[in-house]
């Protein structure tokens, strides 16, 4: 017979024939069952894509005349998911072997169950890595001989159906290549299911037969397998061809109700009072200012830096600015430094070398440095009196201006400790007048979590009251 007369010629890349499978391999039958299933469902081939990884079973994509992808070993599922998410109209099926899907790709196999996307995973289980000469794989039976377990495999095999059930697949079935009609039925039901579907397909490999002196696995399958209408928990375990195999559909549940993919719309926030602060932007005349805010993790040091930079941008959008932050090894409770640079020229180096303005929320950084305070000779230091040992600031050149404000104390007494950084902002605003008040208030509003606007602004005002113009 000419290959063009093949009953499925329309669905095959006949130019790729003959296929590379051993004569007598049953994978071709699985391919045929798939074609029949598509025809039965009346699917337009135009809407079907098949993705495979690497291995004997994965060669199916090379012969199917659909849009197919021969992907990376083990990664057929994520690749297929990429296709599906980018083009949800396609019906996407993953075909691969036990090594590809359960071995190297096991993590993706688990994750798909959890993600819950509409993909079909048809896993051909031939008990090992056949394409490379038959090494043992995740499903190799205990005691079976493979070229890497010549004395018999010492490893307990995994049960693919049990894993799929546990992972949350909405459709789970087991069939064999020796039961083509049952297989086709399973595939049809799997493709109808709108969640992640999994079909384990037992398939005899001749290399496995030869190594283990099994005359015909197919005969064993036909002999030991029972197709069951209803399956119990026990049937999950019955997958050993030396004893008994239960075939059928273990689960077929509608896809769970859940938000679609990533298109989760954020829940509408309750209409809270909206706050507004008007400010005017202008040329600030700032040439180059280095500001450092330092303290202990959790004191809002980074937030303070952000407030400063947003405020500066509010005031003069033409300014160049950078913000960089450094933490000690621990995020909370360790030392924390935020550097803000404001400059009329593009900034070449984003860290503060010598600060013009140093805001000390605590003295942990200075103490880590051995007590040395780095500050421009004509610079300004504002220290949180409630947290900083002020004797550290003795001995600075008299040209350095030093101010103290009990920011943390004020925050604790009037609001909550967390707004101490905004008390500091208020004080700094009035004392240094680098940035205009309303510009800072608008910046505070921008980052204040909903519901805390009032408290943050009040903290700022309190600090402002303390300020020394």
């Amino acid at each position: 017979m000419e290959i063009s007369q093949h009953p499925y010629a329309e669905f095959l890349r006949t130019e790729m024939m003959p296929n590379i499978w051993c004569s007598g391999c049953r994978i071709g039958r699985i391919k045929n069952a798939f074609i029949e299933a598509i025809q039965h469902l009346g699917y337009d081939p135009d809407t079907c894509a098949v993705v495979s990884g690497i291995g004997c079973s994965s060669r199916i994509t090379g012969y199917l005349n659909l849009d197919t992808i021969h992907a990376t070993h083990g990664r057929a599922i994520p690749t297929a998911l990429g296709v599906k998410l980018a083009n949800p109209d396609l019906k996407v099926t993953v075909m691969g072997g036990d090594g590809d899907i359960l071995g190297i790709g096991g993590n993706h196999f688990l994750a798909l169950g959890r993600h819950g996307h509409d993909l079909n995973v048809f896993c051909m289980n031939n008990y090992g890595y056949s394409m490379t000469g038959f090494q043992h794989g995740p499903t190799t039976p205990l005691g079976a001989r493979t070229i890497t377990t010549m004395g018999g495999s010492p490893y307990a095999p995994v049960n693919p159906v049990a894993i799929a059930l546990a992972a949350g697949y909405t459709f789970v079935a087991r069939s064999t290549s020796s039961h083509p009609y049952h297989l086709m039925d399973c595939m049809i039901s799997a493709m109808k299911n709108r969640g992640p579907s999994f079909v384990e397909i037992l398939v005899p490999c001749m290399l496995f037969e030869r190594r283990n002196k099994i005359k015909s696995l197919e005969a064993l399958f036909l002999n030991k397998a029972k197709i069951k209408e209803t399956l119990s928990e026990e049937d999950v375990d019955q997958n050993d061809f030396t004893k008994e195999i239960s075939l059928g559909i273990f689960r077929d549940t509608p896809v769970r109700e859940k938000p679609q993919l990533s298109l989760v719309k954020s829940a509408k926030k309750k209409a809270v009072k909206t706050y507004r602060v008007n400010f005017r932007s202008r040329a600030s005349g700032i040439k180059y200012i280095q500001i450092r805010m330092e303290g202990t993790g959790g004191q809002g040091i980074v937030q303070g830096g952000k407030t400063l930079i947003h405020a500066a941008m509010n005031m003069d959008p033409k300014l160049n600015s950078t913000l960089t932050k450094r933490y000690g090894p621990e995020m909370k409770g360790g030392s924390c430094v935020t550097d803000v640079l404001l400059s009329a020229q593009p900034i070449d180096y984003p860290f503060v070398e010598v600060p013009d303005l140093l805001l000390m929320m605590s003295d942990i950084v200075t103490k880590e440095r051995g007590g040395a305070v780095i500050i421009n000779d004509k610079g300004t230091i504002v220290a949180d009196e409630s947290m900083v040992d002020l004797s550290l600031l003795d001995g600075l050149p008299s040209t350095v201006k030093v101010f103290g404000v009990p920011a943390t104390q004020i925050a604790r007494d009037n609001f909550r400790v967390v707004v101490a950084n905004n008390v500091m902002m208020g004080f700094v605003c009035k004392t240094t007048s680098i940035i205009e008040k309303n510009c800072i208030k608008a910046a505070i509003l921008k980052s204040a979590p909903p519901g805390t606007e009032e408290m943050n602004l009040a903290a700022f005002e309190k600090g402002y009251e303390f300020g020394k113009p």
């Binding site: 992808i69 990376t72 083009n87 993590n107 990533s262 600015s321 960089t324 180096y349």
Partner: protein
Amino acid sequence: MRGSHVIGEAATRAGCRFYAGYPITPQNELPEYLSKRFAELEDATFIQAESELAAINMVMGASMAGVRAMTSSSSPGISLKQEGISYMAGTELPAVVVNVMRGGPGLGNIAPSQQDYFQATRGGGHGGYRTIVLAPHSGQELVTLTMKAFDLADRYRLPVVLLGDGLMGQMMEPVTFPDPIDPATLPRKDWVLGGAKGRGGHLLASLLLDPSKMEQHNWKLARKYAAIRERETEHESYLLDDAVLAVVAFGTAARIAKGAVNRVRKAGLKAGLFRPVTLWPFPERQLRALTPRLKHILVFEMNLGQMVEDVKLSIGEQATVHFYGRPGGIVSTPHEIAEAITKLCYRYDLG
């Protein structure tokens, strides 16, 4: 706007509608931004994958379906993605891969570094392929180069790497964005998986068992790479016209070097900066053109000397190449580089 957010916004405006990633510092702000940004769009997908491998393969799938797709990670994560990048290079699939470099080798640290230059410019994975590598040095350039990366990826059908570092990612600078591109208006890709009706199915694969076919394919790729070399190099010359010494640096290092050049100029030393914007293709010809007028070149990198090899290949014996660099995440100050320039100028009596 913070650098990593700028990349996210620029990608969105470039028509990127698919992002897959996996958590790793210091690039977490980018997926964080995109997860919010993409939720506002009807046609965009953000997915946090189960691993770096999954992420790059999801991007591969999305790219095959014809969507502009992106992933991002930091050095160790990029190593994990190399297999997928090689497959995409072999299958000729466009995608944008952002590497926010950190200190290495191994797990290293999360400080800014340029230690992945070799990995990025030599392909990175197996099989002798190339990816275009773009090295932004400012917030505004994050916008232009991110958008350009998508165009180049589509034009040449290959992965494009955007190579930055943690500093680039967390720096906040004012930027302006161009109008967003509507993905529907992008040129149709005739090779994507979009249904096989009325035509043969598309098989997207990088497996070519027949060595002669594999050779043909490699020659085809080589011709493509040659065309990219010919057309797509980009660099910036800064104060080079009257310079007696050129500093060569990219990315964050170039920014620091610019500061150093400004400083030494104030002191009367005529230094300039040559900044490769494309690291592959490397602007060889443009750099060579500076020589032999310039006798001395100082390469500055945040590693122990990687790009310096490309500089030497470009200029051969035409000038002496010096190197200054620090590995492991220490960021040199402009002052340090200015000192290095000054020393060279005195040692070689460069006026």
